[in-house]
Amino acid sequence: MAKPLPNPIRILVKGASTVGWLGEMGGPRTDFGFPRALEEALLRDGRPVETRTFSLPSERTKTAVRRWEREMIGFSPDVVVLVYGHYETIHLFLPWWLERHVNSRTVPVRRWSTLYRTRLLRPCWMFLARLQARADKKLDPTIRRNRPALVVADLEKIITHTQELGSPLVFLFELIPPATRYRSWFPGMAARIEVMNDAIEGLVKRLDLPNVRYFRIAELVDEHAGGELDIATPDGFHYSPTLHRIIGEQLAREVAAWADTQPHLQLTDLELTRSRRRPPSERAG
């Protein structure tokens, strides 16, 4: 008879480009994003794992609410990692659709489109971005206070729904401010991130569930990059390969510790786990 195989830990990671991209793009294949570093660490620990990662540039929390059914109900993840709220802190007033249109990486190569993008769209965008940077310096950067409230409301909705799927372990990420490269373009972003982090941490406290946790990144930056944001996020926004790996390994430790408390994911005494799953009548017999 074949040896029984353990259940893989099902992990779902969702977020904007911070999840998939690295601060140093185009590096070797061993430059993992944190979802793969998490997978590798768990496999190294002898734990089978199935990771699904959904990462799209500029993804907002409200889009995540729209997609949760398709991504979560069928898969029913054991662990959900949500990295949201970052995009909502970047711009003071420039709209999402314009940013996506200008910085799209999915446009086919066509002569007219290239001409339009380089001669018209790019200069307009740069002008508006400069205008925004000036306004961001003069106005209160957290003037749009409803944004963190909306992000938190959306996150709460996602978490409430995920808890209906067998109470998975949920991580909400702390956001880190932009490094030097983007500070001049978004002077108020650090202040907006602070408000957003408070709001997200407040949500976790309010929910008060042992399986819904706030995952601190700043501590890891302090510990491994001496608090230097330019080292932690070399391109200004995205984690360095080292930070991705550190985050992945830290997450793996927390996931493994939690998995040990879950009968269907325990590695030791597999037969016991299997007998627990058998119907009570069969067990009694």
Binding site: M25, R29, T30, T106
Partner: protein
């Protein structure tokens, strides 16, 4: 402590119907397309693998460019196999929307008017247009609209550039196979267009000039491995089960040789098994 498990090799296959359909449709479950052959062969070599095949009938390169973020950014495949340019070279001038509309497999039967329209109007229009196209393809220069083909190569090149931002995966761009006998009468200029497409794709790969971006020549391999006179595309455009198997084997060898150079995918020498097809000879 439990035994450490190995990281699976992640392989993404993107293309049109050529990557998913087998020419002998409705065959047994063991008639694998080359994506599944790769999975089977890598597993037979004792390595974990995760293959995702994103193939749709009439899928064109610009759609792959449109969806690459969703397919690649989160998952970050180690290997991306691109099989584009086939659909774009098929028709001389007939538009994609008409082809998709006429040959749609998604229309809902039942409505009398819809059935009547499809059988009496659309089918007739489509066949007349196809005959007209065939005649024009024979008389005119079949690469008259070569700009369309060059655009495909430009889209593939841009796609490769974007893929490289996500941890430099191995990118394999596949050569397009010339049409089989069955398609030659309908598309007399397809062989010339295929040659132009292949040259443009090979040039795009050369321009990228990276050791992990490769143009994979397939036609010679089929000539060597299939029986004399055996066509790789017996239905005219889709690979036979055997051709899929040969192609999958070729790609598996390429992938495993590359994986051995990657620290995260390397297998200790003692645990290595020879690459063998998972199928009986």
């Amino acid at each position: 402590m439990s035994t450490a498990l190995q990281l699976p090799i992640r392989v993404l296959v993107k293309g049109a119907s050529t990557v998913v359909f087998v020419a002998e449709m409705g065959g047994p479950r063991s008639d694998f397309n080359f994506g599944r052959v790769i999975e089977s062969d890598i597993l037979t070599a004792g390595r974990p693998v995760e293959v995702r095949v994103d193939g749709l009938p009439s899928q064109v390169a610009k759609f792959s460019l449109r969806t690459w973020e969703r397919d690649v950014l989160g998952w970050s495949p180690d290997v991306v196999i691109l099989h584009h340019g086939h659909y774009e070279s098929i028709h001389f001038f007939l538009p994609r929307w008409l082809e998709k509309h006429a040959n749609s497999t998604r229309w809902r039967p039942g409505g009398r008017l819809v059935t009547l329209y499809r059988k009496r109007v659309l089918r007739g229009v489509w066949l007349s247009s196809a005959k007209l196209q065939c005649r024009a393809d024979r008389r005119l220069n079949s690469t008259l609209f070569r700009r369309k083909l060059l655009r495909v190569a430009a889209d593939v090149e841009r796609l490769i550039g974007q893929l490289q931002t996500v941890g430099s995966p191995l990118v394999l761009v596949l050569e397009i196979v010339p049409p089989g006998r069955r398609w030659q009468s309908w598309m007399p200029g397809l062989a010339e267009r295929t040659a132009v497409m292949n040259a443009a794709l090979a040039a795009a790969v050369r321009r990228v000039d990276l050791p992990n971006v490769r143009f994979v020549r397939t036609v010679d391999v089929w000539s060597a491995e299939l029986d004399a006179g055996e066509e790789p595309t017996p239905d005219g455009g889709h690979y036979s089960a055997r051709a899929h198997r040969v192609l999958g084997g070729l790609l598996t060898r390429e992938i495993l040789a590359w994986a051995d150079t990657q620290p995260h995918l390397r297998v200790p020498a003692g645990e290595r098994r020879p690459v063998r097809s998972g199928f009986p000879a």
